[in-house]
């Protein structure tokens, strides 16, 4: 029994919304980074679901791209967070409102 594509898309939308709300509302940079990962994976889920539904491999290929980019982004993001933390001793996003050196 196959789960209909609408369910997958609804789950993807729900995950994306959770991620977006997390990005908007949370102040801890690590949590914000995690929320971005959730949004990325929500999009991946939509790609995979539609790929299967449309019998096309394009979506799955894009997902690989997204995963590699996301890995790179996570690495860079975490590195920045570490550097910021070392400097400021906090991870509250509001504290970094000003980018002036």
């Amino acid at each position: 029994m196959a789960v209909p594509v609408g369910h997958w898309l609804a789950l993807s939308a729900a995950l994306f919304s959770i991620g977006a709300v997390g990005v908007l509302l949370r102040r801890n940079l690590i949590v914000v980074l995690m929320a971005i990962e959730i949004m990325l994976n929500a999009v991946n889920l939509a790609f995979v679901a539609l790929s299967r539904h449309l019998h096309s491999m394009d979506g799955q290929v894009i997902v690989f791209f997204v995963m590699t980019v996301a890995a790179a982004e996570a690495a860079v993001g975490l590195a920045i967070i570490l550097a910021v933390f070392a400097q400021r001793r906090t991870l509250n996003a509001d504290e970094f409102g000003r980018l002036r050196g």
Partner: protein, 648 residues
């Protein structure tokens, strides 16, 4: 009729100009001794060069001129103007007057300005003035003349306001400048109009030689253009030469140092208008209407200014109105076509009026600036040289034979009568009587009779030093003999002056020259009439002011309104104030307060206010918080998607 090239003429204005530069330098370093040598010295040098140039000019055949092309000044396709100087008979007379009388006045200034801390600045201005005036009379074309025309106006302004620390002096300078500007604007317009006509006639040039040559053709093409140009040029002349309606600045110009009044506001600058009309004689005679206006302005001004001078108390003001009146004679002379008579009176006037002003300055010098003739009296005892030379000047201006103005004034009046202007002649005759009266009134009040001086002042009265009295004596001699070059036709050597100038001027049509009709008994009768009017006026002045008399007070009691009118100078200043200055100021204020401040500034500031207000409120969006931006993006994306979904 060929012009002989030379490079001598450029030296003439250049010498005083260099003097002005050196004196300016001396003024900044306060090198008084340098200015004292260079100031009069540069004018003396110019005088010597003028003598050399005139000597060379006299060797040329009659009708020729010396010409000095310095460089091509304006080169705009058809309009070609050379910076060129030209010396002909008329210019030679003007040059001799300007540098000769000018040098005497510079010499006098050494004594007069002796204690002034700004003496170098004074000589710098005076030299600059001399240079400008020399450019004016040497110019070979109207644009070059205009350089000098503006230059003398500027120097007049600078010198009237020389003691600028007193507001009244600075105001007088400004008044002179503005009144001159009104005339200058008309002068420029006249020049443009003339060029327009010249270009249309196929000779796009403003050189005097070309204009005078083309004048008949211009008049044949469009008489109204010639008349218009002449009237505009005349307006310029009324500004510079202090004629009705623009004469109002000259009485106020007496605020300047007295040598300035003598040099600029009597001998030279104010005669520039007369010179200009005489220079363009061939153009002016082509427009009988314009000539009529010129003559009328001259005669009316001569009479009008003389009546004001009757009741003035200030010695320099009397002389100022007298100057306006005498320039009226010159304008009358050129207006009736007797150009050489006008220029002749210009020359003699330069002698005797410079003398009178310098003598008045000598009186001021002795009395510590007192100018009210009713507070003088009996000065003849204390100031023998000044009073005698002043008497010579007074006799000369009154037209007593055989002094200078007798011949020149008579020549003007005779020409006015002979050329068919009996009304103007009568005005001139009446003005001659008034002139004799007010000048002798001033003489009797100041130099004769009992002293009415303040005892403190009287104790210090002294004759001026020799560098002031020598110019007085020289000018007195010139005031006596200066008229002998232009004797009446047929008497001794006759009118040599007129013959000398004749090649320069146009001859009024039909008469074949100014003196062709002379020789009958009429000129002699006119002369006798003029002399008897002058003699009567002198006698009246002696009756009223020479001997102790209550006559002036009785007259004033009987005609209070006439006296008030004359004391108020016909309220011309007040009328101009009400008719021109106030409306002009009100218009300016309207444009300032309403148009500029409210409308234009309102629009400009309004744009700024709206933009900065928008920025101020828009600034709140820029929190710098990434999460807010992300929220805005999400919101935008959702709204876009929603809108797409709704209106799909």
């Amino acid at each position: 009729m060929t012009d002989q090239p030379t490079t001598l003429l450029r030296l003439i204005p250049l010498l005083p100009l260099a003097g002005a530069a050196i004196c300016t330098f001396a003024a900044t370093r306060n090198l008084r001794s340098v200015a004292k040598i260079v100031g009069p010295g540069s004018v003396l040098a110019a005088f010597l060069v003028v003598l050399a140039a005139v000597a060379r000019f006299w060797q040329l055949p009659v009708g020729s001129a010396l010409i000095d092309r310095v460089w091509n000044w304006i080169d705009v396709s058809a309009l070609q103007v050379d910076l060129a100087f030209r010396l002909d008979a008329l210019t030679s007379v003007m040059l001799l007057v300007i540098t000769g009388v000018g040098f005497l006045i510079h010499l006098y200034s050494l004594g007069y300005m002796h204690d002034d801390p700004d003496l170098p600045r004074f000589f710098a201005y005076l030299n600059l003035f001399t240079a400008s005036m020399l450019v004016l009379v040497l110019a070979a074309s109207l644009p070059v003349l205009f350089i000098g025309w503006e230059g003398v106006g500027l120097c007049s302004y600078l010198l009237i306001g020389f003691w600028w620390a007193e507001t009244a002096n600075a105001d007088a300078g400004r008044k002179a400048f503005v009144a001159n500007r009104v005339g200058d604007a008309a002068f420029l317009a006249g020049m443009f109009m003339l060029f327009w006509g010249m270009a249309a006639a196929g000779a796009p040039s403003l050189a005097f030689a070309d204009v005078n040559r083309m004048a008949p053709q211009l008049a044949a093409r469009s008489p109204w253009l010639v008349t218009g140009a002449c009237l505009l040029l005349l307006t310029g002349a009324t500004g510079k030469s202090a004629q009705i309606p623009l004469y109002v600045w000259l009485p106020d110009a007496m605020a300047g140092p007295t040598p300035v009044s003598a040099l600029i506001h009597a001998a030279t600058m104010v005669t520039a208008g007369v010179y200009m009309i005489a220079r363009l004689s061939h153009l002016f005679v082509q427009s009988p209407g314009a000539m009529e206006v010129v003559a009328t302005i001259g005669a009316v001004t001569a009479f009008f200014a003389a009546t004001i001078a009757l009741v003035q108390r200030d010695l320099k003001k009397i002389l100022a109105y007298s100057t306006i009146s005498q320039i009226g004679y010159m304008i009358l002379g050129v207006g009736v076509g007797a150009f050489s008579a006008g220029v002749f009176h210009l020359m003699t006037h330069a002698f005797f009026k410079a003398l009178l002003f310098l003598a008045a300055g000598s009186v001021m010098h002795a009395l510590h600036g007192e100018l009210d003739v009713f507070k003088m009296g009996g000065l003849g005892k204390h100031l023998p040289i000044t009073s005698k030379t002043f008497l010579v000047g007074t006799l000369a201006i009154a037209g007593v034979p055989p002094l200078a103005a007798f011949f020149s004034k008579d020549m003007v009046l005779e020409a006015a009568f002979m050329h068919g202007h009996p009304v103007l002649w009568f005005l001139g005759l009446a003005a001659a009587g008034l002139t004799a009266f007010y000048m002798f009134r001033a003489y009797f009040l100041a130099f004769a009779g009992e002293s009415r001086m303040d005892p403190h002042v009287e104790a210090h009265v002294h004759e001026s030093p020799s560098n002031m009295t020598i110019p007085l004596v020289v000018l007195a001699v010139l005031s006596i003999v200066g008229g002998w070059v232009g004797l009446p036709h047929g008497f001794l050597w006759g009118d040599r002056f007129g013959e000398y100038l004749a090649p320069v001027f146009a001859h009024v049509g039909g008469h074949g020259g100014e003196h062709a009709e002379a020789g009958g008994a009429t000129p002699l009768l006119l002369m006798l009439l003029t002399v008897s009017v002058a003699a009567g006026a002198i006698f009246a002045a002696w009756k009223m002011y020479g001997a102790p008399s209550t006559l002036p007070d009785e007259m004033e009691a009987r005609f209070p309104k006439a006296f008030a009118l004359l004391r108020g100078k016909y309220w011309v200043d007040e009328i101009y104030d009400a008719l021109v200055l106030r409306p002009y100021a009100a218009t300016s204020r309207f444009f300032w307060k309403v148009v500029d401040s409210a409308v234009i500034d309102g629009v400009v500031n309004g744009v700024g206010t709206v933009l900065s207000g928008a920025g101020e409120s828009g600034r709140r969006l820029q929190t710098g918080n990434v999460q807010h931006y992300a929220f805005a993006m999400l919101l935008g994306a959702v709204l876009t998607a929603g809108a797409w979904w709704l209106w799909r």
